[in-house]
Amino acid sequence: MNRALFYLWLALLRGKSFHFVRSLRRPTTLLGWIAVATLLGFFFHYRRLEFAGQLVRSEVLTGGALALFCGSLFKGFLQRGLVFERPDIEFLFTSPFTQSQIVFYRLLPSYLFAVGQGAVFFALFAVHLRHPLVMALCLVLFQIACFHVETGAAIFAGSIPEPLHYRMRWMLLGTYALLLALYLHTAWDLKLVPSFMASPSIQVLFYPAVTLSELSAPGLVPRWLVHLPHVFTGRSFWLCTLQLSGFALGAATSLWWLLRLKSDMFEASLANTTRVAEKRLRIQQGLRVVANSNLPKRSFGLPRIPLFYGVGAIVWKNLVVARRSKRELGLALAFTLVYTGFLFALLRVYTRLVTDGGRTSPEDAAHFNQGIGMCLAALAFLLQRTLSFDFRRDGEQLVGFRTLPFTPLGLTLAELTVPAMLCLACQALGILALMTYGRLEWTTIIVMLLAYPAIAVALNGVWNLHYLRAAAKRAGGQAHSASAVEALLIVALSFLVFYPAGWAAVAIGKHFEPRLGVPLGVATWLAVQYFVDFVLVVTLARLFQNFEVSRDSK
């Protein structure tokens, strides 16, 4: 290990530790770490329970080790080149260090992590293990070997051509699927592979590890794997020490192999580091990361519909963006289908019960349908993060938007149009199901048709309000990204935004007879909710109008 690199690592570690301690002064960071510490403390408090013992059964440990090893190998292979910090590229890559020295420097934080992980394992599971210290040390060594494998795979993958990398990726996935099936078959008796895979003819492939006399015992090879961790719980201390030496040898051998790797890591690491740094920056600035696979092959034509002229151009742009965001739309559609399918099934079961002579009053049926209708309305909330084709997509362009010849109110309405329409389109599927099976009265359908747009606009408004506030703070250099507490607040606000309408509807409705009270209550709800929506949109417009602090001016 080069002394200069070791000094650099220590200095950075010290700096990061100070930074971490200082960051705890921020309530949001402190809350996050308290949550993590509480969770660990909870597990530590209940560590003697049978459940904790189940987690260190040989089958579970084998599964964990398999996942760790295969995951490390695949992660490294997919990564294609190591990821460094940007200053590392500028200082280390141009300094007279050997590749081995830089790789070892890159591994030091991983070693520290492995030691920390071993300590946590020891603290949580020591009571269930016969030789806990040996077991924890073995875990540390195994984790270190996995880090070596991951690093080696990343360097190797960075040096091979793209088509070969693509083919090998699928080959690795196939191997993992086979390993997983074998593991599930042997450890948990889940038969995902044909039985011939454990037959003597297949085990011949493992000769001479499997002797000819052992061939008659089917499934011998997979059982080795599963019973490996038994040596720590059921054998003598000296045998365990021998196993520990085996792990140490494994870690040392993998390091020796890694440091002797001839593949050049610099070019691939440079590309990878730049890509990751840009991605981090975009996420930090609250922007989306565009996948290259989404690149279009041709442009859409100029629309002829007059609606898209003037401020409507924003709507057209958002529609194009939505059309290109296949992943988001696919997710939204899949979620809608699952969610609506569930409601549809509930409705169908209920209708069948009623048809088969089940006891129900017309009021009960109406309440059931209203409940389904409210569940359907909640879909707009659940789709908010996926259908964000509004201000949330235009983070980088907010300053440029200020130069467009539109009023802030017009621009805000245009921005909210596409996500609200998409939400309603998703809900339309459910409305169709309700109309088919729910035997709804036409008045209820009209109420739903009037209420759903109000709900969609209110929810979009709340989420955009949060985004614009965060963007204004970011531009003013006050905050980088939304914290967990802010996310919690936005969820709370998503419910509170309906409180005034609900309160007013109940207050009005209870002063009259039900025949008059219900329609009056509904009408009040609609009126108040649309007013709240209007206030939200105006607030958004004002916020957009006041969003002017430029990043470089600070």
């Binding site: 565009v290 442009s299 100029l302």
Partner: protein, 256 residues
């Protein structure tokens, strides 16, 4: 008065503060149709703040700004129809192609028969082979050209450029300089800020020199040379240093 001959940009006693810090103080100047005005100054002189205030991104702390006769604060929509702004760093829409950016501008500003203009514009700015590429995959220079294409498409009365030649190759710089000159001859006014004094000297009819948020001088290069009592073939660089290094007391004299 004929509106075509009145100033397209009028800045009167403009000031902008960030908290207690005065970024720009008491700035006044005008840009006439067909003029190319260069704004130069050291880092933090207030160039970008001035340009952003003219475009309505920042609100003035004091003073008045009019674009083609429309007050940017009182009639923002009418004013914004008259200019195009190209920032120093162009941020395109992630999932829109080059052509779709042009469509968007055409729809926004209701450009008549826009598609007939696309081919010539894309050819002029060497973007014709990139027209179906997603804008976020373009290089910085290409993005600058895309931004110029969007501005040229709608033929505004004034184009405001912040560091317009950043990231462009030598051919691109030459082409864009020629494009700017051609449009200026046709009557479009340009207001550009740049650190490249050679570019400003070669391109601009008028130069506005800002120093620590204040106007040091505004006029043609020849007028400024005379004010700074420099010889006739002194470059803008010589003029710039002579003007910005003058003592405070001579500031008012120069500005007047």
């Amino acid at each position: 008065m004929n509106p075509a001959q009145s100033a397209v940009i009028e800045v009167e006693n403009f000031a902008r503060n960030y908290g207690d810090f005065a970024a720009v103080r008491d700035l006044s100047f005008q840009v006439q149709p067909g003029q190319i005005v260069g704004v130069v100054g050291a880092n933090g002189a207030g160039k970008t703040t001035t340009l952003r205030a003219i475009t309505g991104i920042l609100r003035p702390t004091a003073g008045r700004i009019r674009v083609a006769g429309h007050d940017i604060e009182r009639e923002p929509v009418a004013a914004k129809k008259q200019f195009a702004y190209i920032p120093d760093t162009v941020h395109p829409y992630d999932l829109l192609t080059v052509t779709e950016h042009l469509h968007f501008i055409a729809l926004t500003y209701r450009v008549e028969q826009p598609e007939a203009k696309y081919a010539a514009l894309l050819d002029e700015l060497e973007l014709d082979d990139k027209k179906d590429e997603i804008a976020s995959s373009l290089s910085r220079g290409m993005l600058q050209k895309l931004s110029l294409a969007c501005a040229f498409l709608r033929q505004p009365r004034v184009i405001i450029l912040d560091e317009p030649l950043t990231g462009l190759d030598p051919r691109g710089i030459r082409n864009i300089k020629a494009s700017i000159r051609r449009r200026a001859t046709a009557g479009t006014a340009f207001l550009l800020s740049s650190h490249l004094l050679v570019l400003v000297e070669a391109l601009c009819d008028q130069v506005l020199i800002l120093h620590r948020g204040q106007k040091r001088t505004f006029g043609s290069l020849e007028e400024i040379r005379n004010l700074a009592t420099l010889h006739a073939d002194a470059s803008l660089e010589d003029v710039f240093f002579a003007v910005t290094e003058k003592p405070e007391e001579s500031l008012a004299e120069l500005a007047s």
